[in-house]
């Protein structure tokens, strides 16, 4: 059986290429039909903020690519509740259908996956 991989994305979409490069790992793995999950943690939850205008800072819109995750077979999407709370992002306002987890559930999630990559 294929090993499962959790990708933890910890950078804001405007903070250099990390957010995109984490997403690229997920999309590449989805193309191979691998069991993948993606967790938005720390500043990574800013990727889920609605109504972004990345063109204002000469960036491409990451949201459109994030929306493609379920189409690539990456349906296990999570966000850290404490990260959302610290940054004032209401869980019901997010641009992606993520499951919001408390800290105990985060530990269980990481334990459940065979492998973890954090960017």
């Amino acid at each position: 059986m294929a090993k499962s991989l959790l990708i933890i994305s910890r950078q804001a979409p405007w903070a250099g290429p990390s957010a995109r490069e984490a997403l690229d790992i997920a999309l590449a793995g989805g193309a191979f039909d691998l069991p993948l999950g993606m967790l938005f943690l720390d500043d990574g939850v800013f990727q889920l903020a609605p109504g972004q205008q990345p063109g204002q800072v000469q960036q491409k819109n990451l949201a459109a690519n994030l929306q493609a995750l379920p189409m690539f077979g990456v349906e296990e999407l999570f966000a850290a509740g404490s990260s959302l709370q610290e940054r004032g992002l209401p869980a019901d306002s997010l641009s992606l259908p993520v499951k919001v987890l408390d800290d105990a559930a985060l530990a269980a999630l990481i334990e459940r996956f065979d492998q973890v990559v954090t960017l």
Binding site: A2, K3, L5, P17, S18, E21, D24, I25, A28, G29, A31, F32, L34, Q115, V117, T118, L119
Partner: protein, 130 residues
């Protein structure tokens, strides 16, 4: 044990040096490295253009020697490398750039190689940050 090792930091970051020492220790301990994968700023760890002061530990040179000596499968992510100006001869010609800074023993390839390595290995060990 079979290891896949991913490096996300440039040669001047302590984590690239730690990855090198880990990889050396893995082989010395009788383990196997199925692949080294250089991603994000890790592509700079493979650059042949790094000039390290003579009295300092030259991490990219040690990576190069280590990969060559053990004939390891060492892949540099092509998308990450292009955006950071790490090019082999073929890509430099394709994009009409003057500098070639990724000579052998590295392979430029895609993220599928990271997934394949992770599937083949018993453990995926990542080195990033400082």
């Amino acid at each position: 044990m079979k290891f896949a090792i991913a490096v996300f930091s440039p040669g001047h970051a302590p984590s690239s040096r730690r990855a090198l020492l880990f990889a050396q220790a893995a082989l010395a301990g009788g383990h196997e490295i199925v692949r080294l994968f250089f991603y994000q700023d890790g592509v700079h760890s493979a650059s042949g253009n790094i000039v390290t002061p003579q009295d300092e530990f030259d991490v990219p040179a040690h990576w190069r020697a280590f990969v060559t000596e053990h004939a390891l499968d060492a892949v540099v992510c092509i998308a990450a490398a292009l955006r950071r100006g790490v090019l082999n001869e073929e890509e430099a010609a394709r994009y009409q750039r003057n500098a070639v800074n990724l000579p052998a023993p590295w392979d430029l390839s895609g993220l599928g190689q990271l997934h394949e390595a992770a599937q083949t290995a018993d453990r995926l060990v990542c080195f990033g940050g400082d």
